[in-house]
């Protein structure tokens, strides 16, 4: 659909922050208009990228936990072995991708616990890789509105 949804959301944000905020009869009304504008701008950024972000992150997480498999055992090892199935999705609905991401991030937490408890150089290297991914996850989610 055109105009692009992100463009429309930024248009709403602009209207809220300029015209509607000026029309507000109380400070609380102006505050609500400002909050609404900020939130709408944020959604505009997120709308454009969220599918790509989740898809990128889910692939990164599957690769990472696969490489950590030697540190795991039992049920956790089984979950790591099955992690790739989270990339085989029935559709690209946002809720489907978010569900896969939540399960993979929960798996990463459990893998991280095991890696932290393993006293070896290899485990230290894997721990560093997990922290790299955690840093990268914040970069993916970072919302900068300045470019708009």
């Amino acid at each position: 659909m055109k105009p692009d949804p992100s463009r429309v959301l930024f248009g709403i944000a602009s209207t809220l922050s300029t015209q509607l905020a000026m029309e507000a009869r109380t400070p609380f009304g102006a505050y609500l208009a400002g909050i609404s504008a900020g939130l709408t701008s944020t959604l505009a950024v997120e709308f454009e990228r969220i599918i790509d972000r989740l898809n990128t992150e889910n692939h990164a997480l599957v690769a990472l936990v696969h490489d950590a498999k030697p540190f795991t055992s039992g049920d956790l090892r089984d979950r790591v072995s099955a992690a790739y199935t989270e990339l085989v999705l029935p559709n690209l609905l946002l809720s489907t991708l978010v569900g896969a991401n939540d399960r993979l991030r929960a798996l990463l937490i459990d893998v991280h616990v095991v890696v932290e408890a393993t006293p070896s150089e290899a485990a230290l290297a894997m721990d560093a890789r997990i922290w790299d991914e955690l840093r990268e996850s914040t970069r993916r989610r970072h919302i900068g509105i300045g470019a708009y």
Binding site: P27, V113, L134, R135
Partner: protein, 339 residues
């Protein structure tokens, strides 16, 4: 709201005579409780009487589920002390009166809380004195003798070496109950906090719980007129407050200064002088990480309240989108894993 307030105040202010409510306005902010200011007017002895009041009312859901009775007790405990607080008037637990439990306090008529205005040129001369008072008053809070105060009846006192674990247990529970998505950075931080406990507290103090620029009324004369938002107050390690006040999320000018108004070493020195305690660097590093976990607990609670439809307050959604990931970035830096 007006009719409910008028009916409630009539017997309390006017011996049953009619009370009129004027200029009822919601104050922006207050993501945990709705805060409204108003004037109550009535006739007595042939003349009009008028009081400027604030009502803090529980919303259906919020950033936090906190105990209003405890908040009321903390405010009341500091009445008449060197720590300025608004006078408490009434605590009402019956939700039928205004649609939620609430308390009413006097409105402090001078000063403002705006985090932005304090950074404007108008406050250039006052900013330094305000910053100094901020940390002198924090020292006064932390050296307050609370044992016979109202707060002692509503909040448990931890042991010196139990302060950290009591708070960490609490905030881990908050995250357990409220996270909508797994939080791998906060979870790693919690493991690190448990594996590397801080030294015991130097004393069990009143901890304000949300002590930062934005939660006190300051004035152009360089004074702080009132410290507000005691809803997360508890007894614990005073370093929790000092570290919280330094957190990057409140560095409003993004210049590394707490609140945008003072350098951390200077603030620490003022607090140490005022409190007679020391801000041990190892302990502070622990509380810096802890406070990011605590903040994440607050943000995810608000996100869940909004997601589940228990609150329609847009600030909760805004906080979720703007602060959960930012808090993770801050937490990484606090752990030396900087993003």
């Amino acid at each position: 709201m007006e009719s409910g307030l008028a009916a409630y105040l009539s017997p309390r202010l006017a011996n049953g005579a009619p009370v009129a409510i004027h200029n009822l306005l919601r104050i922006p902010g207050g993501a945990s409780r709705e805060t409204w200011m108003f004037e109550a007017a009535w006739t007595a002895d042939g003349g009009e009487r008028r009081e400027h009041l604030i009502v803090r009312k529980d919303p259906p859901a919020s950033l936090l589920e906190t105990d209003r009775e405890a908040e009321y007790a903390f405010y009341s405990s500091f009445a008449g002390t060197a720590v300025p607080v608004p006078a408490m008037r009434w605590l009402e637990q019956d939700p039928a009166v205004l649609g939620g439990p609430f308390f009413i306090m006097d409105r402090v008529m001078v000063g403002e809380t705006s985090t932005a205005n304090l950074l404007t040129p108008r406050y250039n001369a006052a900013r330094g004195p305000i910053a100094r008072r901020m940390y002198e008053l924090l020292g006064a809070i932390h050296t307050f003798d609370w044992k016979d105060a109202p707060l002692a009846r509503v909040t448990p006192a931890p042991t010196l070496d139990g302060c950290w674990s009591k708070e960490l247990d609490h905030w881990e529970d908050v995250i357990n109950e409220n996270e909508l998505s797994p939080q791998p950075i906060a979870r790693a931080a919690i493991r690190w906090l448990r594996a590397n406990p801080p030294p015991p507290a130097q004393r069990v103090s009143v901890v304000h719980g949300d002590y930062r620029v934005g939660n006190f009324l300051y004035h152009i004369d360089g004074e702080i007129k009132a410290i507000v938002d005691w809803e997360m107050s508890h007894l614990g390690d005073p370093l929790e407050d000092l570290s919280w006040s330094f957190m990057e999320a409140w560095q409003w000018a993004r210049d590394g200064k707490p609140g945008g108004i003072i350098e951390r070493p200077e603030a620490t020195a003022i607090w140490e002088h005022a409190s007679g305690m020391r801000a041990d660097s190892i302990a502070m590093a622990w509380w810096d990480v802890f406070n990011s976990v605590k903040a994440q607990g607050i943000w995810v609670t608000g996100a869940k309240s909004f997601q589940e439809g228990r609150s329609g307050e847009l600030i909760l959604a805004m906080v979720a989108y703007s602060l959960i990931n930012r808090q993770d970035e801050i937490l990484l830096r606090a752990m030396g894993r900087g993003a």
